[in-house]
Structures are given as C-alpha cells and as structure tokens.
C-alpha cells in the first residue's frame, strides 16, 4: 500500500511517498522517500533478549543505523542515539517489560535530510508494527545560510555549505518539541525562528501520516 503527498502548501517541503509493510518478515516496516532521499526502517518487537540487557520496568530499545557505505562509524552512533532517545519517549515501553524492541534503519539514498527522513520513516514503521505509542513524531530540518536566512529541507550541496543545520522533532498532540539537534554555529534568534518555522512545517508531515493510516485502515 503506497501513498503519495505532492501537496506542499505554503511550505516548500519535498514531496513524500511511502509504503508500509514493505518487508515480509518484520513486525513493522516502512520505506519513505522525501524528495530524492530514501530510508527504509524495520521494527521488530517485543522480542526476547539476554538477561543482562533486560530492564524490569520497561522494554530495551535498540537502534541500528546502516549507511550505504556499509562500514559503521562514530557519527552513525550519534545518529543512533538521537533516534533511540526520540523513539524511547514515543513508545510506551512500560507495557513491554523485560523485552526488547529493535529498530533498524537502512539508508538507501541521501540527497539531504537523511536523519529527518529516517526519523519520519521510523515513526511510520512503529505505527505499522502496532506497538503502543504515546504520540507520533515528525522531524523537520532547516539550514542557516551565511546571511542568516533559513532554508527548510535543504538539498545536499546547500546543507554542506550552510553555516548550521538544525533538526527538530515535534510530537503529534500539541506540537511540542521532543528532540532538537544541530551542527554548526548560529545565533539564538536564528534558533527561535527556525524552531517556529519547523513547527509550522511539521503540520505537513502529520497530515501525511494521517493520510497514510486512512488509506490502509479503511474500517476506521
């Protein structure tokens, strides 16, 4: 089941296409493309894990981020920890104590905004897996260029040349900020502006999620 969203309204977010239940052996999976950037996420859980990794009050979430290059590196660990922290707040881990939930992200194409694409895809895969969630989340990224102007969802060459890249993750109920991470130097004013702009842009992503669920859950 695939869904397209070419509607970008007033915000220039890249067109998003996704397909849920893409993999046959996972508990939940999704493949999402935002513009030309594509990510594939597989979710498995609740799983039985080793005694040492078990936590008595909640489930242990493990995230694995695989790049196209294949060799794992230190920046990948950083991305994994961001995605893990975002998913941990979203999943109701206390309903699955002493078990494990594994989220595997595979980068297929990177033309800018890979981490945000991976986060959005992870949310869709979690929805597909049926795990209990506190809220859905949407990630939007923004680049601050040399003159202090903001560009939502920059392309790869613009993002690399930008002074700073800011990423924000918002939750679905009240659009409050869940995670924020950034690289580069920027002023406080630029941060506040980027935060509000991305918050408004996240509406597009949440509408997309709603369209996706509406398509394949047609009894609701």
């Amino acid at each position: 089941m695939g869904v397209e969203s070419g509607d970008t309204k007033e915000f220039k977010l890249k067109p998003m296409k996704c397909e849920l239940n893409f993999l046959s052996k996972s508990d939940g999976s999704a493949i999402l493309s935002q513009g030309d950037t594509v990510a594939l996420v597989s979710v498995n859980g609740p799983l039985d894990i080793k005694m040492q990794s078990q936590s008595i009050e909640k489930s242990t979430i493990e995230v694995l981020f695989c790049t196209k290059g294949g060799k794992p590196s230190v920046p990948d660990r950083y991305k994994e920890s961001i995605i893990k922290q975002t998913c941990e707040t979203a999943i109701l881990g206390s309903l699955y104590p002493r078990s494990g939930i594994t989220i595997t992200i595979q980068e297929l194409e990177d033309y800018g905004g890979l981490v945000t694409c991976a986060l959005n895809c992870a949310c869709l895969a979690l929805l597909n897996s049926g795990l209990a969630m506190r809220h859905v989340f949407a990630a939007v990224c923004c680049a601050v260029d040399e003159l202090g102007g903001l560009v939502l969802e920059p392309e790869q060459p613009l993002a690399a040349a930008a002074r700073a890249r800011l990423h924000f993750v918002f939750e679905g109920r009240n659009r409050t900020l869940v995670s924020a991470f950034s690289e580069g130097s920027y002023s406080e004013v630029a941060y506040e502006e980027a935060l509000e702009k991305c918050r408004a842009a996240s509406e597009v992503v949440f509408t997309f999620y709603r369209d996706v669920v509406r398509k394949y859950s047609n009894v609701i």
């Binding site: 950083y78 994994e80 920890s81 700073a164 690289e183 580069g184 130097s185």
Partner: protein, 193 residues
C-alpha cells in the same frame, strides 16, 4: 537509609528535594560545582590539562604529529579528538572497544570544537600541500559523576590554550625536515567574547 530509599523510590526521592528547590547534594538549581583545573601535568604530552568538576575528573593530552594535508584542502591541518570512558570511571562501562556512549560523547566534543572554529586549521599548516600539524587530542575520563561533555570541553580548551607549536624548517633541495622543539610559537585561539 537514604541510599535504600533512593533505590526503591527514586522518583519520590528526587521529588522530595526538587519540591524544596534544592538538589540532593545541597546545591541550588543554578549553582555550579567546584571546578579545579591543572595544566601541563603530563610531561610526555605537548600540552595537557586535568579538570575536576565536582567529582567528575577528565584528563586531556595533546600530541603533535606531522602529516601531508588532504588534496582537497592543502592549507589545512588536522584536529582529531577522541574521548575514552574507562571502565574505572563508572560501573556502566566494561573493558573492550569504545562503548556507544563513548562514541557519542566523542562525536559531540569533536563537533563542538570544530564548529566553534576556535582553532583555525590553516594555522596548523607548515608548507602548503606538503606538511601540516596533526593535533591528536586524547580525552580520558577517570571519574564519571555527570556533565561529561562540559568537563571534556573545559579540559580540551585549557590544553589548546597552553599548546605551543615547535618551529619547522624545511630545506627544499634536500627535502629535509628539521623540527626545533626549543623555539616555539603558541597556537592562536579564536574566541568570540
């Protein structure tokens, strides 16, 4: 007694203190811990610093090496930072390859130093496209009591401030390189006040 209480009802333990606007160790919310800083403690390193932030202890040592600059950036040297969280700093870490947490902290510290541009990599270049300095900054934590990134940055910047680069003389005809460790120039820092 409070140790047992902390294990069994951690949320209530912390809330009891927070509701009285104080932390479990007696500090206010906006108070810093005592900071102790000692530089040039490691003789074998070119520059070093030891920082103690409350109980968190972090050591930084900087070593210099010569290398050929990258082809796409012939005027830039290298700044390589690495953070190690030894098993002795906390019961959470085991001996072996760096844990995920250590790699994340390494990445954060490296990003902060490079993005702040406090060291201009062009200052590290000796001869364009031929020789440049590589600064290997090794940060080791020997006691982990929280605020690791803060302590690591403190130790790293203090070491960079005390670092001085030896002069290098290069003979073009014989392609001979001579490093004079006695004549030194301090490394230029760029800080925005």
């Amino acid at each position: 007694m409070s140790e047992i209480y902390k294990l069994i009802h951690p949320v209530k333990y912390f809330n009891d203190y927070i509701s009285r606007n104080v932390r479990p160790d007696g500090r206010n919310f906006y108070e810093h811990r005592n900071i102790k800083l000692n530089v040039n403690s490691i003789q074998a390193a070119e520059a070093s610093a030891v920082v103690k932030c409350g109980n968190t202890t972090v050591i930084c040592g900087i070593k210099l090496e010569l290398a050929t600059p990258k082809a796409e950036d012939p005027d830039a040297g290298f700044l390589v930072t690495n953070v190690e969280l030894l098993p002795l700093c906390s019961s959470k870490f085991r001996p072996g390859p760096p844990s995920d947490y250590a790699q994340v902290i390494s990445n954060i510290v490296s990003d902060i130093v490079i993005n702040s541009q406090c060291v201009d990599l062009k200052d590290l270049c000796i001869i364009s496209d031929k020789f440049a300095w590589v600064l290997y900054c090794d940060i080791v934590c020997i006691d982990n009591d929280g605020s690791l990134v803060d302590a690591c940055i403190m130790a790293l910047i203090s070491s960079l401030k005390t670092l001085s680069l030896p002069t290098v003389s290069y003979d073009e005809e014989t392609e001979n390189i001579k490093v004079d460790t006695k004549v030194r120039t301090p490394l230029k820092e760029y800080f925005v006040n």
